[in-house]
């Protein structure tokens, strides 16, 4: 299965955000979307999820346009992990994850035994089963991100789309989320995420997509395109590269 955008023009009725964008994501693969603020990352993300109609071109899941795919069918293939936010109501962690099963029932059904089994499995996988009775509003930011990941997994999707999954997390939790993204790909999911940190793309992604002012600057394997020159062009700012001489791993610092 492939999630793809072909010749996409993205934006809103009153404003074009990006043109001529071509993206493709396979199952089992991680794609990182990088770029400066206001460059169109979130708009592209929403278009690829079918939440926003493309102004031109097509967003396709397995060759079928997302525009003609019902919300329910779409949700069974693509899950969305939004940026963590303050919730209005203090639903329990279990209720939040159970909402991931919405597309597996019809409009009126109550959750089935299987729904509860899937939810328990998702909570276990991220090690948050002990939180299930806690209000979602009373847990830490890192735990909340895991709850949203569990909800996405409970949708049993093929693709998972994450909007800045590491924003507002502490250092340790950023690493944990990176590892979970790798693990999701290892279990066959296609993962697309946006980030402000090229090092996170280096750590967790197979490929990167560099977006500036609504245009694709470069696209390819992270090892090939994430270098000092590309990043300086992407952010229009000096970048320093550090290399660990023993392990051979490298990282970037804003200069």
């Amino acid at each position: 299965m492939t999630l793809a955008g072909q010749n996409l023009t993205i934006g809103y009725s009153d404003r074009v955000v990006g043109r001529n964008l071509n993206v493709a994501l396979q199952e089992g693969e991680v794609l990182a979307l990088l770029g400066p603020n206001g460059g169109g990352k979130t708009t592209l993300l929403k278009t690829l999820m079918g939440l926003l109609r493309p102004l031109a071109g097509e967003a396709l899941i397995d060759g079928r346009s997302l525009v003609v795919t019902s919300a329910r069918e779409r949700a069974r293939r693509i899950a969305y992990v939004p940026q963590t936010h303050v919730a209005t109501f203090a639903f329990t962690v279990e209720s939040v994850v159970l909402m991931g099963r919405t597309a597996h029932g019809n409009l009126f059904t109550r959750p089935s035994t299987r729904d509860h089994v899937v939810v328990a499995g998702a909570l276990d996988r991220f090690g948050i089963a002990h939180l299930k009775e806690r209000p979602y509003t009373m847990i830490s930011g890192g735990e909340r991100q895991l709850v949203l990941l569990a909800r996405a997994l409970a949708q049993e999707p093929r693709f998972i789309v994450l909007d800045e999954p590491t924003a507002s997390l502490d250092f340790g939790n950023q690493g944990k989320v990176m590892r979970e993204i790798r693990a999701l790909a290892a279990s066959g999911h296609g993962v697309l995420f946006t980030t402000h940190d090229p090092n996170h793309a280096l750590r967790a992604a197979d490929r990167a997509y560099l977006l500036r002012d609504g245009e694709c600057l470069a696209e390819g394997r992270v090892a090939d395109i994430l270098n000092r020159e590309q990043l300086e062009a992407l952010y229009r700012a000096p970048v320093e590269k550090l290399t660990d001489m023993t392990a051979g791993a490298s990282a970037f610092l804003p200069g």
């Binding site: 999820m49 969305y80 203090a90």
Partner: protein, 337 residues
């Protein structure tokens, strides 16, 4: 998977039982609890009661319809308030946020102005409430926006104040000796004139609207998330929002048409219910309905017994609701659980 009834729901049911007994026994014609159960039991099994005919009359013909009406109106306003607070993701929203009460008020004062009968006034109030919400919804949808919820609420506020001006104009033009007191009385809310024949036009819409909301209870959890999240989880949010608004408006308009404007119930009771059972709609809706019914039953009992004259319900709910709400604000500063 079955769950045992939560303690919160049991509290609500206990409040209901207590409210029922008090409402039937207290009043200008006191009735003993023994008589009350005797009359109700005799009626249920179809034999003659040993209580006096006067007591039987008071229970079945005078207090009975009024008790049922208080339960239905209170439950309807609480259910509609719960649905709207979830749908608009705002715990400060009440059932009349989209103009249902303002529309009903204009309908009712027009009915009084044109000297229509009780049925005419109630019908105009009901239709006025529905029309106001339809107008708000249509105008709100025409205004293209990335935040349809916010635009809808703001449109409701604007149209509501326009309808309020209409009410003011009709009151200004009304006959100050006959019509104006009737209008004022209606706008403050009362169940004093409720008879058995009022119950069917109230019960029908309330039952239909509540049934829709209860059927959608699992989806309403998801509808209380931000718009894009709800869509990403697989809901067609547009049609669902219309269904929820229509159902909540139906129950609100039917209750306002029967009782007049009763503020606060639809705002305060959902909070109380959430404090008891949490925000999960499958539990919250029934708890809210039972608490709303009990609350209005209690208020109505006070309204007809506390003073030599009937106290308008709208005034009592405000007097009790305001300090309660301030207390709630102080207690729940951190989270709207």
């Amino acid at each position: 998977m079955t769950r045992s009834a939560s303690p919160g729901l049991l509290v609500a049911i206990a409040a209901l039982a207590l409210g029922l007994v008090v409402a039937f026994t207290v009043g200008r014609f006191p009735i003993t609890t023994v008589d009350l159960f005797d009359v109700l039991w005799s009626r249920a099994v179809g034999r003659a009661s040993s209580a006096s005919p006067a007591a039987e009359n008071v229970i079945l013909l005078v207090r009975g319809p009024r008790v049922v009406a208080a339960l239905l109106v209170g439950a309807a306003l609480a259910v509609a308030g719960t649905a709207f607070q979830g749908l608009f993701r705002n715990p400060l929203v009440s059932p009349d946020i989209l103009g249902a009460s303002a529309g009903a008020a204009l309908g009712a004062v027009l009915g009084i102005f044109f000297s229509l009968g009780v049925i005419g006034i109630e019908s105009l109030a009901f239709i006025g409430g529905l029309l106001a919400v339809v107008a708000v919804y249509v105008i709100g949808s025409l205004l293209q926006s990335r935040d349809p919820i916010l635009v809808l609420v703001l449109t409701g506020v604007v149209i509501g104040s326009l309808l309020g001006a209409g009410v003011g104009l009709v009151k200004y033009l009304a006959d100050p000796y006959n019509q104006l007191p009737a209008m004022t009385f209606w706008l403050l809310g009362s169940l004093a004139a409720t008879t058995a024949s009022d119950l069917l036009p109230l019960l029908g819409p309330v039952a239909v609207g509540s049934a829709v909301l209860i059927a959608l209870r699992w989806r309403m959890n998801v509808m209380s998330l931000p718009e894009e999240e709800a869509r990403a989880l697989g809901l067609a949010t547009g049609p669902l929002r219309i269904a929820i608004v229509a159902a909540a408006t139906l129950v609100t308009s039917a209750s306002v048409a029967t009782s007049g404007i009763i503020a606060w119930v639809g705002l305060v009771v959902p909070h109380l219910a959430r404090a008891l059972v949490g925000p999960d709609f499958p539990r919250l809706l029934p708890t809210s309905a039972i608490l709303g019914g009990s609350y209005l039953l209690f208020i109505d009992t006070v309204a007809r017994t506390a003073a030599p004259i009937e106290i308008p319900l709208g005034i009592l709910t405000a007097v009790i609701g305001t300090p309660f709400f301030i207390w709630l604000l102080a207690r729940m500063q951190r989270t709207w659980s």
